[in-house]
Amino acid sequence: MKPPKFEYHAPRSVEEALDALGRYGGDAKVLAGGQSLMPLLNFRLARPAALVDLNPIGSLAYIREHDGQIRFGAMTRQRTIEFSPVVAQRLPLLKEATHWVGHLPIRTRGTIGGSIAHADPSAEYPAVLTALEGEVVARRATGERVIRAADLFQTYLTTSLTPDEILTEVRLPAMPAGAGYALEEFSRRHGDFAIVGIAALVVREGQRCKMARLATAGAGPVPVRLRAAEEILEREGLGDAAIEAAARRATELVTPDADIHASADYRRHLTGVLTKRALTRAIGVARG
């Protein structure tokens, strides 16, 4: 249970990091908080020729408001997000999701950029990024591009980031004032990987639903946006019948896999149960 040998780079800037990464032609790994990569190294499931450690790059840790977006430097720790007043006010769904990310001593090291780039399908941040239609900035030596959540996650632990790119920023649109939100999750033990999780956002006008957003964690190889379930609420309002119908529709929109933790059927069932719970709670706290 010790990592294999690797070259270690501790760059002081993103440019230096990209330069180091470029030297290995896809055989290097970017080390962010290390809360997923380090276990993989200890198990020797990952055997990169080199690690490019982003931790010394202080300029990658920030939370800024810009043009209706909240922008997070990729190395912003989850504990920082947990206690950020800006997040509490503008992105309460992200704050709530953060309580579900690992455990306290994981969140002190774990980062928003690392969690999203790692793309574990059971992780909370990718679900929130999907629900809020966020985007990430990917930098390479020759420039940068912005990738929408819908175009980022490809399958288990796989994103559309290329080996010569580093995810440097995560952008989430500020939630509308008064929006209801909830993150419901089921795991065997708090802090364990989600068996299924549902992120919900509801903007209401009386009993009418102006906008609904639903995204899954753990219900398939990537976070799933439950658009057809959202449409039921936007069409039929926020009554119990509409919530029931949306939850039922949600179970039809996911294609979960079975593993040692749960069968596919059970995950599908949970998707419905948790969608109903998340919507009920989100609608309860929504103003407007």
């Binding site: 249970m1 200890n42 504990r79 306290l104 001593p105």
Partner: protein, 159 residues
Amino acid sequence: MAEITVRLNVNGVAHEGRCEPRKLLVDFIREDLGLTGTHVGCEHGICGACTIMFNGEAARSCIMLAVQADGAELMTVEGLMRDGKLHPLQEAFREHHALQCGFCTPGMLMTALDLLRTNASPSDREIREGISAVLCRCTGYQGIVNAVRAAAPTLAAGR
């Protein structure tokens, strides 16, 4: 890869060592610095026995590299005692039978320390959520919850 020099401060004492980049921080602490109070359990970030304070925050030292601690300030369980007296949290653990075999105890103490640093009077639910970061296979969790609850006002008063 060649060995790298690591200079760090542990429990208020400056240390310097050399190690391969792949050396885990917990192994560096135990083998190179001789501080064996920090325990090695699962070695993949699940059990929490190796939790230390890294620049003032609880972190798992089995999923960090020693080279990442260059320039850092660490506190391990050995750093809790002052002037031959137990830390109030350790005192509470003893008082409330919060340890049985003691294997998880260093991790429990360091995790509880960060919990109480950021939440001066946690509810029982919050204590349980906090210490869910550390596995106790004696399953003596109730005593640990009692100890953390009892230590909270003492630590808050000491600040």
